[in-house]
Symmetry: C2
Subunit: 348 residues, 2 copies
DNA sequence: TAAGACTACGTTACCGGTAAACTTGTCGCA
DNA sequence: TGCGACAAGTTTACCGGTAACGTAGTCTTA
């Protein structure tokens, strides 16, 4: 039925032969392979006339460059960058990816992605795959890596950018902010707003150490202010709307007199807001709600969510640019801080 | 300051030399290169004893395979798959990407991504980059490609999966559903619910032909029912919450007696709902609201949104699996339909 | 018991591009 | 006029795998 479309070996061989390579262009233009290579890469050492002949020949033969051969032949010629994120389904990381991709493609690099679901072992498995492609560099999310990951990175000696969290010293380069400080800042803000019985609802799928860091900073701030955290509800689930809804329900069942709840992220906070609305709990009068992350949805709610906005796209862009700068041997600062912004909102 | 970390040429050379290759393993294990290659790829033609020696030698030397060389040496050995989506920041495509990535990495393939912002020229530019890596196949979103794209795909003769829309016959393989039919179905549903003065709010950034297809199907259904569409508001913007909010405001200013509005997607519909709430417009009594896509947020609203749920992850998974099946020479059906589901909700 | 088949490897020739070294021609200048 | 500097190329030697083919032994079987 679809036999005409099946790519069999014969077709493949034919297709391969049909494709022009540097040698074919060299013959067509009457110069050497090496000259063609230099012309097409825009380097120097040839006349305008030669250049024109080569470019014309390449166009005539529909030349498609072979980056595989280039990267293989000259190790450092790779324009491949690997990036690993915790979850591809997260709205925040979608924006980070977008920032990275735009910056990289503008600079002539290609992006190979993977996700690790907050697991250091998955990250290592991904890294081993990527390294076998001899990329120019990699971007990792977070700061908790397996010993094997660190060993491998050291062994291959390529630039590494760690994004998203900045709590400890980086392997190579780092771009992001401190999750711990986000928690502290929100804790202090809630106290200033007069909140005293404060809870937390999270969903720490596997080992989301960054969400954990926010919670710890938050707890520290509350404790220092003399009003330690009243209750926490941490679900073993992905941090989405439903867990936010049910997490708040469970928390309030255990501890009905809370006057404020801090959520793992905005999605969960919106789930919590929905729960309040369905139960007639007034926000912020009866209960304050605070999120984290800065989803677009959070700013268009009837009452703007109190949250921390993370500069996702900017982080991606900065990470890509730092990586490329290092690849080009330019001077790069090891750590780039991309500040977050607490937005007051109307839910606390 | 960071000089110790700079990867200069000397370090690079050293790192390169330090890395073991097949020949080193062959020497260590006392066999030939080719035997090592076969053992490590799990093919046949050697004894268990030889195998054990090779595996041990590889482990001793910390061998990292070089897929670049493999793909280069044997054309068809590439395990690279390219994928291009309209926007990386879309929640829906995040789930599609996740489905593709999980399926591919389980099958031993790597994913190279790009985005085209609904532009056929950007898609072609991306494809030219990707093709230069000689991927095993590509996944494209949508059905509108430039002539150059189609030519190039034909020239390189590799499997292509087009996802997301199924309105015309595919280049090679296709996975998705009909956007046109989604529009028709929603139009018929709204009519059955007794709605008569129906409007549309969209945001057709660049040339989002699939959103356009939904609108056309929708208009057809309404016209056939004898109640042609009353008004449309199409913003030149990305289809997010804000445009939904303001789009509805503008539409109602022009046409205040609408009894229902169909939105480009759920994000815009939620923006519209927010507008209603802020103006005291009761939903669904005063105005019906319908969306498209099936965002998680839409199902956790105080009133569940009337919308069409798209099986995003399943599409990604099916696309990846169809591509790999074709690569392995298995029999694959050209078109895989992944049905959408209209959820009644409570906003119409 | 010799011919043939099978097992378990080894050898060789690429794949397409790049770096480095080498060649040739041209020009300025003492 | 002779010499060095430079521009504009060419030549050669790889990079690390893989496919195709070759071959030495072992096992089977008529």
């Amino acid at each position: 039925m679809s036999s005409e479309k099946v790519i069999d070996n014969i077709d493949r061989g034919a297709a391969r032969k049909a494709k022009a390579n540097l040698e074919d262009i060299a013959r067509e233009a009457g110069v050497s392979k090496m000259t063609v290579s230099r012309v097409l890469r825009g380097s120097t050492g040839f006349s305008d006339q030669t250049r024109a002949r080569v470019v014309a020949a390449a166009a005539r033969l529909d030349y498609v460059p072979n980056r595989l051969a280039a990267a293989f032949g000259a190790d450092h010629a790779s324009t491949l960058v690997g990036m690993c994120v915790p979850r591809l389904t997260s709205g925040l990381f979608g924006h980070v990816l977008d920032g990275v991709d735009r910056a990289l493609s503008r600079l002539g690099y290609q992006l190979m992605i993977g996700s690790n679901n907050h697991s250091a072992e998955d990250e290592e498995a991904w890294l081993r795959q990527i390294v076998s492609w001899r990329p120019a560099g990699v971007i990792l999310s977070g700061r908790s890596h397996s010993a094997g990951t660190v060993d491998l990175l050291r062994q291959v000696a390529m630039p590494v950018v760690e994004i998203w969290d900045l709590t400890t010293s980086p392997i190579d380069l780092a771009v992001g902010f401190s999750h711990h400080d986000c928690g502290v800042e929100m804790g202090q803000f809630l106290i200033r707003r007069g909140r005293r019985k404060i809870g937390f609802v999270g969903a720490l799928s596997r080992s989301d150490v960054m969400g954990q860091a926010r919670l710890e900073g938050f707890q520290e701030a509350l404790a220092r202010a003399g009003h330690p955290i009243a209750a926490t509800e941490v679900l073993q689930d992905s941090p989405g709307f439903y867990p936010g809804y049910y997490g708040l329900e469970m928390l309030l069942a255990r501890c009905p007199d809370l006057d404020c709840v801090y959520f793992h992220n905005d999605e969960m906070a919106i789930g919590g807001l929905t729960y309040c609305q369905s139960r007639g709990i007034r926000v912020p009068e009866d209960l304050g709600i605070a999120g984290w992350g800065g989803m677009e949805a959070a700013s268009v709610l009837p009452k703007r969510l109190t949250t921390t906005i993370v500069p996702t796209t900017a982080i991606g862009k900065a990470a890509a640019e730092a990586l490329v700068a290092r690849l080009k041997g330019e001077d790069v600062q090891d750590v780039t801080v991309t500040p977050t912004r607490l937005v007051t909102g109307e839910t606390v």
